[in-house]
């Protein structure tokens, strides 16, 4: 087993009017290839901050993150972006589809950013896989929440990432739709042999993951 992502003594502090606020406190963890890990905890426990640090979207106050063997501290913002393009896929609570692009174009976006010539064909295949082939010409505002999240999942898997990060993927969906989304996420994860890290406070969802990391006031418990 090889480590896909590794955090060593991660601490994140922000300054606030009330003084320095510690959001993450000395978090150390290792996630192996092929694992499905849920990060759970109450609101404000630091789940999303941890996810952002693991993805290199933000920098820790102290500590290190190793993503696919690369030390993020040694990379500049554009270097981290390039690493994300190679390694990561994202699914967000608020879907984050670009409103001026159609469903198909949203899925094509990471492929185009990676300079893949056959972007359209691959994106079409993925849309078909998530059951939205007939909606490919629709804009996000013409799709329901569940449909939007399926497009987002297709987008996340488009570049064949080694690590998929999901931030509350069912947070904006009703229970039944959320369950279907989770099924889809795990199916694709299995098919593509991706490592899955998801942040949630949905107990059912967390239970389907092989391992649960519980955050409480910025510390792993």
């Amino acid at each position: 087993m090889t480590a896909i992502v590794e955090a060593r003594a991660l601490t994140k502090q922000v300054s606030s009017p009330e003084g320095t606020l510690t959001i993450l406190d000395d978090v150390t963890l290792v996630i192996e290839a092929g694992e499905a890990v849920a990060i759970v905890g109450a609101s404000g426990s630091g789940k999303s901050t941890l996810l952002g640090l693991l993805a290199g979207l933000d920098l820790p106050t102290s500590g290190r993150v190793l993503l696919d063997g690369c030390d993020l501290a040694g990379l500049d913002e554009d270097g981290r972006a390039a690493l994300r393009a190679r390694t990561l896929g994202f699914v967000f609570q608020s879907f984050q589809l670009l409103p001026s692009l159609t469903a198909l174009e949203n899925v094509m976006l990471p492929l185009e950013l990676a300079g893949i010539a056959a972007a359209r064909g691959e994106a079409q295949a993925l849309l078909e896989r998530v059951g939205l082939a007939s909606r490919r010409g629709h804009y996000p505002h013409q799709l329901s929440g569940g449909e939007q999240q399926r497009v987002a999942i297709a987008r996340a898997f488009a570049t064949g990432p080694t690590l998929l990060l999901a931030d509350e993927p069912t947070g904006n969906l009703d229970t039944r739709t959320g369950a279907r989304i989770i099924d889809l996420l795990f199916e694709l994860n299995a098919e593509q042999n991706t490592t899955l890290v998801l942040v949630t406070h949905d107990v059912q969802l967390a239970a389907r993951c092989g391992r649960q990391l519980v955050l409480d006031a910025g510390r792993l418990v």
């Binding site: 979207l57 390039a82 990561l88 994202f90 984050q96 670009l98 692009l101 990471p110 950013l113 300079g115």
Partner: protein, 828 residues
């Protein structure tokens, strides 16, 4: 970067299709159309003038002299390989039986004309045909006026000096006929070979000799170099650039000021571009964060947004140039009849300027907010509250000002003028914005009264006060210009005409011979009319001021140069003429020699002061005197006025003709026919015909200017649409909340109606105020009379603004009315 090229193009296509950037595109198209419509028009006129300038000389270059042409000039022209022709011009009397007629004779050799063509006919105003050479020896071609005056038909004979010539044709058009209105006797064109036989040219005869030349530019330069040392003060070498300087100056002015007027539209369109770009940048925040998250580098985002704007600029410029090309045709049509019938095709320069306008506007107004997007923190995908650092204010305003200055500079090609106009435009906009701001603030007080629609409509305006001010100013300028060019212009003209006394002279009589004055007085008396005053007139050229011999080169002002080159009409009078007032110095009380009285405006132009010694060359003699007085004249009186007067005795010895003016009611025109029959050498000038012509020209020019400012109004609509678009989500949410609270479509419609009608009314009021100030300035400075404000300006301005802006605003916000509230609340 290579990836960004294609990606940016696809992103632009997707954004345009999704309706983003449409307003930005619209504003750019208007800006480009506005500058290119003026550009295409002036470009074609300039090309026509450059092309026709040769025709105005009937050559590429003319060497003109009051002495016979030197043989070495002809030799130099031959050596340089230039085509050449020779013409002699002089005045003489043509005779048929008992009839005499003063004519401007032009004798031409077989080469004339080198450029352009003559048109002749078999009867006055008959069917014309084009010929490329002048009359054969033994025949003469006469202007219709001369045919009628001498009662001649083609084939008849006339006597010129001692030579009998047959009338070969009626001369309908002569390319190099000058543009002088006064003192032009009708033309007689003859062959140069016939001149000796007339025995008219003696030593001392006043003849203008011209050597016409045509050929390549290098050949012309060789010729110029060869003859330059031998050109004396009596000789002038005229190139095509010297031809019709007044037309050239008019074109330059038109180019500059119409061009700068077009830039007003660009300025307003820029406001729309900036508004739309800021909204677009705000909406692209999440997209940029997602792209960063998906691995796009900052450089890639910079390239993507910059290239998107570049593609957008190219597309908008293409559309704008096409629209501008269409619109310039309308401008050309308004000027139809004032210009040559067929203008040459335009050069690509106006299109290049249109493209530059689009790109510079985008770079100055749209790029800064979009470039700020590359700084978006990728963590925003998880935390919506994170924003990129906004573009720094000095970067935003600095780039906008630089862009404007660059466009102004290019358009005016004059740093000072660009600075003055940019400063003036910004100051004017500032004043208008302050006035608009005051109006908007005043609205707050009005919010208390009225129903819900009234309160919501006004609230929308005052809450987005800055945007409201920008829109009021944009529409205000457009409406103001339309008001000035329609209502105020006709108002001013009517008022000026009403101020003329009803019996102001409307006809001038020129070329009255001294021995005809008494007979003419008798004629008027016999008709039972008041005798008009007859004023003697002697022609003289100003040659020296004090000890300084002056030439046109001493002056920079083109009017001064023209005055020095031409001969003045000098007159004398014992009394101060009617409508004249001594501004400084004294009027001579007794006949004295050696004094002048000069019109003060002329004195200023030529730098003449009281007490200066002026020397005029009259019929080859020098006549000197000191400036005893400067006079202020009432030019509007249409009485005969002279720039320079002497006391009786100073000029009596020189050959004079007389000039007179009188009023003739339309029903009395038969008197004119009788007068001309009795005194056929007279030149009668009909002032009303001239005035009609002037009015016609003003109408055409103002139509063209109106068209240019129609783009300003269109730019105002773009500003409105951009503002509506920027506030669209807010409006939708508001409307949805109102509806859930029970508001009906009618209520929301009412609020929108109030908002845009009030906006339009404010713009109309601002426009009417500005138009009134402008009218008062025009009346005071240009027309020199007090202007009484016209109430219609306010009514038309406010009503027009309310209607136009109201309709445009409702069109822009109709989605607010048709969107179901649930849909809105879920989406926005």
């Amino acid at each position: 970067m290579g990836g960004a090229l294609g990606f940016s193009a696809r992103m632009l296509r997707r954004n345009l299709r999704a309706g983003e950037l449409r307003v930005l595109m619209l504003a750019l198209v208007i800006a480009v159309a506005s500058v290119t419509s003026v550009g295409f028009f002036t470009d074609r006129v300039r090309r026509a003038m450059e092309h026709q300038a040769s025709e105005m000389l009937a050559a590429d270059r003319v060497v003109e002299s009051t002495r016979p042409l030197r043989p070495e000039w002809r030799a130099a022209a031959k050596a340089a390989g230039l085509a050449q022709a020779e013409t002699w011009s002089f005045r003489s009397v043509a005779m048929v039986g008992e009839r005499l007629e003063l004519t401007e004779v032009k004798a031409v050799d077989g080469g004339y004309p080198l450029r352009g063509a003559l048109r002749i006919a078999d009867a006055p105003y008959g069917t014309e045909r084009t010929v490329t050479a002048g009359p054969a020896p033994g025949s003469a071609w006469l202007e219709p006026r001369l045919m009628q005056a001498l009662d001649l038909r083609v084939g008849d004979r006339l006597l010129l000096g001692e030579l009998s010539l047959s009338v070969g044709a009626v001369l309908a058009y002569e390319p190099d006929r000058g543009g002088e209105v006064f003192n032009i006797a009708p033309r007689l064109l003859m062959n140069l070979a016939d001149v000796p036989a007339t025995h008219l040219i003696q030593t001392g005869s006043l003849v203008t000799y011209r050597l016409l030349l045509a050929g390549s530019a290098p050949a012309m330069r060789r010729f110029q170099q060869a003859v330059r040392p031998s050109l004396g003060p009596a000789d002038r070498s005229l190139g095509v650039r010297d031809a019709r300087p007044e037309l050239r100056a008019a074109l330059e002015r038109a180019e500059r000021y119409l061009g700068l007027a077009a830039l007003v539209s660009v300025l307003l369109a820029s406001v729309a571009v900036a508004t739309a770009a800021h909204r677009y940048a705000r909406r692209e925040l999440d997209g940029a964060a997602v792209m960063r998250c998906l691995g796009a580098s900052q450089r890639f985002l910079t390239a993507t947004f910059t290239l998107q704007l570049l593609w957008l600029g190219l597309v908008a410029a293409g559309l704008g140039i096409a629209l501008g090309y269409g619109a310039h045709g309308l401008i050309a049509q308004f000027f139809g009849g004032l210009l040559a019938a067929d203008l040459p095709q335009p050069s690509p320069m106006p299109a290049v300027f249109g493209l530059m306008t689009a790109l510079v506007t985008l770079a100055g107004f749209a790029l800064p907010p979009l470039l700020a997007l590359r700084q978006v923190p990728p963590l925003r995908v998880l935390r919506r509250d994170l924003l990129p650092l906004p573009a720094r204010a000095h970067v935003v305003y600095g780039s906008a000002l630089t862009a404007l200055a660059a466009l102004m500079l290019w358009q005016s090609r004059d740093v000072l003028l660009a600075a003055v106009v940019l400063g003036g435009a910004l100051a004017t906009l500032g004043v208008l914005a302050l006035a608009a701001g005051a109006l908007v603030t005043a609205l707050k007080a009005l919010r208390r009264g009225g129903g819900m629609a009234w309160r919501f409509g006004l609230a929308a305006l005052t809450r987005r006060a800055r945007s409201t001010v920008a829109q009021v100013v944009a529409f205000g300028i457009g409406i103001m210009v339309l008001l000035v060019l329609t209502l105020v212009r006709t108002d001013l003209m009517d008022e000026w005409r009403d101020r003329l006394p009803p019996d102001a002279p409307n006809h001038f009589l020129v070329n009255v011979l001294p021995d005809q004055v008494e007979a003419m007085r008798d004629f008027f008396r016999a008709q039972g009319r008041a005798e008009p005053g007859f004023h003697p007139m002697v022609r003289g050229r100003l040659v020296a001021i004090n000890e300084h011999e002056i030439t046109a080169a001493d002056y920079e002002d083109t009017r001064a140069q023209r005055l020095v080159r031409r001969e003045f009409n000098l007159s004398w009078s014992a009394e101060l003429p009617k409508g004249n007032a001594v501004a400084s110095g004294h009027w001579w009380s007794a006949p004295s020699r050696g004094e002048w009285s000069v019109e003060e405006g002329l004195a200023q132009t030529l730098g003449i002061r009281l007490g200066d010694r002026l020397v005029f060359s009259v019929a080859g003699q020098r006549v000197a005197g000191h400036v005893a007085s400067l006079r202020a004249l009432d030019w509007d009186s249409f009485n005969v006025n002279f720039f320079v007067l002497g006391p009786p005795g100073l000029l009596d010895a020189y050959p004079a003709s007389y000039i007179s003016s009188f009023h003739l009611a339309p029903e009395d025109r038969p008197l004119l026919v009788e007068l001309v029959r009795r005194f056929p050498n007279l030149t009668v000038i009909d002032v009303e015909a001239l005035m009609t012509r002037v009015r016609d020209i003003m109408d055409r020019v103002s139509h063209a200017v109106q068209l240019v400012f129609a783009f300003t109004l269109a730019a105002g609509i773009a500003v409105l649409f951009a503002a509506v678009q920027a506030s669209r989500e807010e409006r939708l949410r508001e409307a949805a909340v109102l509806r859930t609270l029970g508001a009906r479509t009618r209520d929301i419609f009412g609020a929108l109606l109030v908002e845009f009608v009030v906006l339009g009314t404010l713009a109309g009021l601002l426009a009417a105020g500005a138009a009134s100030v402008l009218a008062a300035l025009l009346a005071g400075v240009v027309f020199d009379f007090g202007y009484s404000l016209n109430g219609w300006v306010w009514l038309v301005g406010a009503a027009g603004g309310a209607l136009g802006v109201g309709l445009a605003g409702l069109a822009g916000t109709r989605s607010v009315l048709v969107q179901p509230p649930l849909w809105t609340l879920r989406r926005v």
